[in-house]
């Protein structure tokens, strides 16, 4: 079996030649006793040329007092000494022909109680370049993110502005209709008031979009409370003894479906006001909204009046108008994929089972 060549420090040269880091060792008189293959590549000097020479003749900067004084401490068994490329760029200059400047990190350590000092010279060029590249990319991405956020803010501002204008226009239209209704006769006035309430329900959505968080959904508890009170104030005087009970869970629905749902609630409330409240100059309407199992909610509008059948018996003219309202409710309910059901008195109860992801 062939003998394994060893340096004078006893390290197996076959092993150190496989280490991907430049290694060399010196003794107390700075004579090189170990020189591995990675260092040959780094310096362009072969082992035969380096071994036995003074390390300061190959790396002249080592002779500078600020470096040599630190290395001397290692011969006393002192702690490892770090030489960074940043502060010592000329210490271990790479001599590979045509090569660009290479970054390194060097740690020198005492061995055998300071009889030998081992230097490890690690090529950090690729790692530094990769990190620099990553940091550049990070800076670019942050800039892109900031730009997107700015664009989003502009978009939000435009949406708010558009919603504000739409709300203002619808409010003006509703006000004009309200003015007209005050001049109209009873039957026509009721029609105007219904129209005003429908338009107000849409204006209210735009108000919420304008004032609230820009998103695809509307919180129904807030919206329905304001809508119901608005319809009440449209049809009833401020001192009316009629009561409105609201039990609204905090659930949300997308903007389009909320628009249809608002119109449905206006129709149902209008019917209850016309047949259960106004004729009796009082009474109770209860509006309830609750979340069901995942993806569904239930809305109900109930009153303590005579109920649909009895109300219908009161006159063909009224029922024909209301059948239009009922048809509208059915049509709007189908638009949002809701299931419509009616209760069996006393009073009127209409319930809607609404999917939250109807589209």
């Amino acid at each position: 079996m062939a003998e394994t060549p060893e340096g004078s420090d006893g390290l197996d040269e076959a092993v150190v030649d496989r280490v991907p880091v430049g290694l060399f060792a010196i003794d107390r008189d700075w004579t090189i006793r170990l020189w591995n293959r990675s260092l040959q590549v780094w310096t362009g000097r072969g082992r035969e040329e380096a071994m036995g020479r003074d390390a300061r003749s190959i790396f002249p900067a080592l002779a500078m007092p600020r470096h040599s004084s630190r290395i001397e401490t290692l011969f006393e068994g002192g702690p490892p000494v770090v030489f960074s490329y940043e502060l010592n760029a000329q210490l271990f200059v790479c001599k590979r022909e045509g090569d660009r400047e290479r970054h390194y990190s060097c740690v020198s350590s005492a061995m055998r109680g300071g009889a030998v000092v081992l230097f490890t010279v690690e090529d950090r060029t690729e790692a530094v370049s990769s990190l620099a590249e990553l940091r550049r990319e990070l800076v670019l991405r942050k800039a892109a993110e900031a730009s997107l956020l700015d664009a989003l803010k502009v978009k939000e501002m435009l949406v708010r502005e558009a919603s504000h204008r739409v709300m203002n226009n619808l409010t003006i239209i509703a006000s004009l209709i309200g003015l007209e209704s005050r001049r109209a006769q009873d039957d026509a006035r009721c029609g105007f008031e219904e129209l005003e309430a429908r338009i107000s329900s849409i204006a209210l959505i735009h108000e919420l979009l304008y004032k609230g968080e820009i998103g695809k959904e509307i919180w129904l508890d807030d919206y329905l409370e304001r809508l119901c009170r608005s319809v009440f104030s449209t049809f009833l005087p401020a001192d009316s003894p009629a009561k409105l009970e609201l039990e609204l869970a905090a659930v949300s629905l997308d903007v389009d479906d909320t628009l249809y749902l608002g119109l449905i609630v206006v129709e149902l409330l209008t019917n209850s006001l016309k047949y259960a409240i106004i004729p009796r100059n009082g009474g109770l309407i209860r509006v309830s909204l609750r979340g069901l199992e995942e993806g569904w909610m239930e809305l109900s509008v109930a009153d303590d009046g005579p109920g649909i059948r009895l109300a219908a018996d009161r006159g063909a003219a009224e029922t024909s108008g209301d059948s239009l309202g009922q048809s509208l409710v059915s049509l709007l309910a189908s638009e949002i994929g809701a299931e419509l059901s009616r209760g069996n008195g006393p009073g009127t109860l209409v319930a809607l089972l609404i999917p939250q992801k109807s589209k």
Partner: protein, 200 residues
Amino acid sequence: MKDELPDLTLLADIVAKGLGKAAAVLGEMLESPVSIMDREYCVLHVSELPLALGIEKGEYVRVIEMGFSGGFEGTAHLVFMPTDAERLADRVTVGLGLVSDDIESIRRGTLSEIGNIVINAILGTMANDLGMELTYMVPLCLRVVARDLVPIPTDGKGTVVLIRARFSVAAIEVDGDIIFFLSLSSLERLALSMQGLAHG
């Protein structure tokens, strides 16, 4: 539990000498005077360390760390808040004409060497004056959450010896901490060694 170590005044003297040497070396590099203050020597349970070191919060720090074993064993740390570390590195590299688009690498390499010089000044003085041979780990430059500095004790009771001092470079508004954790078993060996010094 925070036991003072009145019988280790000689240790305090030796550490103070090392700190003085470290301050001188660092001051020379920075061309500014370095003050050492708030020296502390005590035995603590590791659970008390975060409060004692003021590192309960999860803030990041820059650390140059080196482990050692032999006559006494433990770890040495030079700890900076990131902004102080940046100011320190920038001060040392100013005028060197370093050209790189990666300032972070420059700071990291510079801090590694500064920390190494400071820690070596203290540890070298301690080992020499106590006449103890130590084996050292390769120094590391890390960015870690401060509470991760707390060491894993080796004495089974969860106690460590804490040696700490604060240093300040007023001219560049840089503050930092020099922190040593020694294993409790090191204390006995240190005490014996120091007795020998006192009588010899």
